[in-house]
């Protein structure tokens, strides 16, 4: 049964119960059909279709969680930020313009959410503790691909140095750098997501690169 019937007095209201109806097009049982286009999913979600929104969340949860994690450096806070960002997106979907890119819009929401959380806890860009760095570099919350022990040790050291260098950047620079270098967003998207001009976004990425180059010069 796809719908749930609930009886109150003499009235039966059929409501969606969630998660029972499979997302239709593009699955293996419908060969030849394309994946449901993102703009279609967004349109359906805007009309209140929770399954369409669930598909969008599935598509973007890894990316948005990763962005939040790299800004906040804390798995629990990152999960909160990603969750709040998706819920905010659901509530604000009616405002979303169809000519905009959903991914950029989501990046903006999750970035702002993570930054607000970071500011809320008055977290100035403090270098991570040695324990945090070790945890981060050894797969505490980031699972690196397995390599041989020597490579792994070197990789761990490099990652620890990266995380430390990143943590020392002002958040404006760090966010722009993460969006450009890790999420591989075009410069214009970085500008749009962070709400600054292209000129400013490029400048921030440039200065972040310079600072990281300086901080990591011993790795050259």
């Amino acid at each position: 049964m796809r719908s749930r019937g609930a009886v109150w007095h003499d009235q039966t209201v059929i409501e969606l119960s969630g998660g029972n109806v499979p997302v239709p097009a593009g699955d293996e049982s419908h060969p030849g059909k394309p994946e449901v286009d993102e703009s279609v999913l967004v349109l359906r979600a805007q009309k209140g279709d929770p399954r369409a929104f669930e598909t969008l969340v599935r598509r973007y949860q890894q990316t948005m969680y990763a962005v939040a994690l790299r800004i906040l450096s804390d798995p629990d806070e990152a999960e909160d930020a990603a969750q709040n960002a998706f819920v905010a997106a659901w509530r604000r979907l009616p405002e979303f313009r169809q000519d905009a890119k959903f991914s950029s819009w989501m990046y903006r929401i999750v970035t702002n959410q993570a930054l607000n959380q970071a500011r809320g806890r008055q977290r100035q860009a403090q270098p991570m503790s040695g324990e945090d760095l070790e945890s981060a570099a050894n797969g505490g919350w980031l699972a690196a691909a397995p390599v041989d022990p020597e490579q792994q040790a070197e990789q761990s050291e490099l990652l620890a140095a990266v995380h430390q260098a990143l943590a020392s950047l002002p958040e404006e620079l760090r966010v722009c750098w993460l969006l450009r270098e890790i999420e591989e967003c075009p410069y214009q998207d970085v500008a749009d997501i962070t709400g600054v001009s292209l000129y400013t976004a490029r400048g921030r990425i440039y200065r972040a690169r310079l600072r990281l180059a300086e901080a990591m010069s011993s790795w050259r």
Binding site: Q11, T12, G32, E54, L158, V162, T200, R202, W219
Partner: protein
């Protein structure tokens, strides 16, 4: 470099007149031109970027796994805030029964999406506004259905629209006991079937 820098400043053009971001981006892509290969400023910028570039690659290669609890937590809130639309009265003999517009729409979209050569973009269900107070036996309203969809390339659209109408009518009747006054099918896109040869 200055520590109290202006965070809104742009890039600093190098003495050779090149934009440092462009130089580094091109070098990372292996698209260096003749100038970049010989210019000391460009070479210095490219060399200085190597550790940071390597760091970026390392970070990109890290696999970040979102916690399993994230999706259920988001959807729990979404379901609790659902705006399911108006209730549509269903035929009923004892008491009354309703389905929400959202329930009817979702079921139609689900069944129509199973139709070959047809991908639903949006489905809307409109019931008459002037609903009478419930009386028994309940008479279901005739609905107006509008479906926006994409069709596979080179398919007879008129025939496909008729098949879609049939599926929609059958779903309404068998699932809800409802009938449609009109079922409008609007094809808004055409797609090439995956695996099809051109």
């Amino acid at each position: 470099m200055a520590l109290n820098e202006n965070q809104d400043a742009g890039t600093e053009i190098m003495p050779c007149g090149r934009d440092p971001l462009e130089v580094v981006d091109r070098a990372r892509l292996g698209r260096m031109n003749a100038h970049m290969r010989t210019c000391p400023y460009c070479q210095a910028m490219i060399t200085a970027d190597l550790p940071a570039g390597s760091a970026a690659t390392s970070l990109r290669d890290e696999s970040v796994q979102a916690p399993d609890t994230l999706l259920p937590a988001v959807m729990s809130t979404v379901w609790s805030e659902l705006r399911p639309g108006r209730n549509i009265p269903l035929p009923a003999v004892n008491g009354s029964a309703f389905a929400t517009e959202q329930a009817v729409t979702s079921m139609l979209e689900h069944d129509l999406d199973r139709l070959p050569d047809f991908v639903v973009h949006l489905c809307s269900v409109e019931a008459p506004d002037d609903e009478p107070e419930p009386v028994e036996p309940r008479t279901a309203p005739a609905l107006r259905i509008e479906v926006r969809a994409a069709a596979a390339y080179a398919v007879d659209l008129a025939a496909l629209a008729n098949r879609a109408r049939g599926v929609a009518a059958e779903t309404l009747l068998h699932q809800f006991g409802l009938v449609a006054e009109t079922i409008d099918i609007n094809f808004v896109d055409v797609y090439e079937q995956q695996g099809a040869t051109t």
